[in-house]
């Protein structure tokens, strides 16, 4: 039972991180503005570093090191003890910090619902709309090639 609940919470955190990582820093900050964010401390000040990105040989085979990407990370602890982590592509420490804060709030029984109902839905919708727009533009370039049969002799 506990196991299911913690798996459930982990899936929620991952989904939220996935959405937030695709958002602009200002966008996340704007939606958090409406939340009465509780006291929290910086557990790890924002820090830039690298993550080695791995591909797979042939797309689905053994892994190989492709190249690195810049990543920013931060960690936050709420007064009530929840620890949130932010890891995101790029060198935007403020963004990593905001993601860490959201991650901590999602784990807090007092704030989880607020984040889930006020912060994430508009961001989720914006990211989905962006994906949809790209898919619609791409679909317009779908092509039907046909081969011409060579004439006899």
């Amino acid at each position: 039972m506990t196991r299911t609940r913690s798996d459930d919470l982990q899936a929620k955190r991952q989904e939220a991180m996935g959405v937030l990582s695709h958002c602009q820093t200002a966008e996340i900050a704007r939606h958090l503005d409406d939340v009465a964010v509780p006291d929290h401390e910086q557990l790890r000040a924002p820090e830039d570093g690298l993550v080695m990105l791995r591909g797979r040989i042939g797309g689905d085979g053994a892994p190989f090191n492709l190249s690195e990407a810049t990543v920013s990370r931060a960690a936050v602890r709420l007064g009530s003890g929840e620890v949130g982590f932010g890891y995101v592509l790029g060198r935007d420490g403020a963004k990593a910090q905001l993601i860490a804060l959201c991650d901590a709030l999602i784990q807090s029984p007092c704030y989880a619902a607020t984040i889930e109902t006020q912060v994430l839905p508009p961001l989720r919708a914006r990211v989905a709309a962006e994906r949809k727009r790209k898919a619609e533009e791409t679909a317009a370039t779908k092509v039907d090639f046909y081969t011409l049969v060579r004439g006899e002799g």
Binding site: S21, L53, I57, V88, A140
Partner: protein, 369 residues
């Protein structure tokens, strides 16, 4: 051998000041911004990220601006920057089957699940200079197909693989630590993971020439572009302090699956072989060249004669890195006075011996003094 020199500080300082001035160009012309470079010279940014071996659009744009558009200088700058940051770890292997595809073409099948989508491509353009771009162009909005779903499509090699018509990808060995040329220097023979890492950051022009050479018969392996796809893939990373996979965001990748002629034996049915290319951004020429060279470098593994330059892994992998290459070639312009003096002394001695042997001094001997 290079012997260090001292002096010239003032001249060097002034040369760099002049460089900054020339970089800016005519000051009545607006300065180019990093956003402009990232958005409007996006393929240059993709190349600098790929060969600079660092995914960061803003830094690659800065490098291009600082290098005045010299791509290899920009790649050098990006490589130097990456050495200043700590590494948090390695990502989970990226799954290109989950790519949100923005372009996907195959020269082997016209009908395949998901279809062929051209996306934004130079293919089928007439390669005529467009006078409209001389001023400020305002292109039409792209056409759309309403309600199209984000395209996740199977790879062509997955489709061929179902019938056993193509060799499977090499299976992951949990005992094998993934090789990393940024941590350990390359030794030969090199495994395929190391070769691919080397080719991924290798110079596009160099790989293009080698790939072309295989098509012209130097290590021929009969390629078809099984699939080229471009799009966004999600990157996940398991931080030590967290213990589960964290989505870091998405990156743009180009992937090429090259399908090549057969291998088979008395015990194994013949099947297509494959070469693989993967690079940051939209880098089609790069991934196609990489896949051709990857396949050529598998000659030993596939029991083919190693006769052509593209099949010689020590030759190919030792000269692919343009930062290394440019370092060694360009160091020739630094002062080599001591070195040259010793060669000059030797040459004079040889000429003197030659003259004495022939008993007739040459006029050049006086001129060189």
């Amino acid at each position: 051998m290079y012997v260090a020199v001292k002096g010239g500080e003032r001249a060097i300082e002034n040369a760099h000041r002049l460089l900054a001035h020339e970089r800016r160009g005519d000051r009545s012309v607006p300065e180019v911004s990093l956003d402009q470079i990232s958005n409007q010279l996006s393929l240059a940014v993709d190349r600098v990220m790929t060969e600079g071996s660092l995914y960061d659009r803003e830094l690659a744009s800065l490098a291009i601006k600082q290098a005045r558009g010299d791509m290899i200088e920009a790649i050098f700058l990006l490589r130097a920057f990456r050495a200043t940051l700590p590494r948090f770890g390695s990502s989970e292997p990226i799954d290109t089957a989950q790519m949100q595809v923005r372009r996907r073409v195959s020269s082997t099948f016209k009908d395949m699940p998901g279809g062929q989508v051209l996306g934004a491509t130079f293919d089928y353009t007439h390669r005529l200079l467009d006078p409209a771009l001389m001023g400020e162009a305002s292109p039409e909005q792209p056409s759309v197909v309403a309600e199209a779903e984000p395209g996740v499509m199977p790879r062509v090699t997955d489709i061929l693989g179902r019938d056993g018509l193509i060799e499977p990808s090499p299976v992951e060995d949990p005992e094998h630590q993934v090789g990393d040329i940024t941590r350990d220097s390359l030794s030969f023979p090199a495994d395929r993971d190391l070769r691919l890492q080397n080719l991924a950051r290798g110079d596009e022009g160099y790989l293009l020439a080698l790939g072309y050479s295989t098509q012209r018969g130097y290590g021929r392996n009969h390629p078809f572009a099984g699939e080229i796809r471009v799009g966004e893939v999600s990157v996940e990373f398991v931080p030590e302090d967290l213990g589960f996979a964290v989505p870091l965001g998405s990156i743009t990748l180009t992937e090429c699956q090259m399908v090549n002629q057969f291998k088979g034996s008395d015990t194994e049915a013949p099947c297509f072989t494959r070469g693989y290319g993967l690079a940051f951004g939209q880098s089609e020429r790069k991934v196609m060249s990489m896949a051709l060279v990857d396949r050529a470098l598998r000659a030993r593994e596939l029991g083919e004669d190693v006769k052509a330059p593209a099949q010689d892994e020590e030759f190919v992998l030792s000269h692919s890195d343009n930062v290394q290459s440019t370092g060694f070639v360009e160091h020739l312009k630094l002062p080599h006075y001591v070195d040259f003096q010793s060669e000059l002394g030797l040459l004079r001695k040889l000429r003197k011996e030659f003259a004495e042997a022939n008993e007739a001094p040459t006029p050049m001997q006086e001129a060189a003094e």
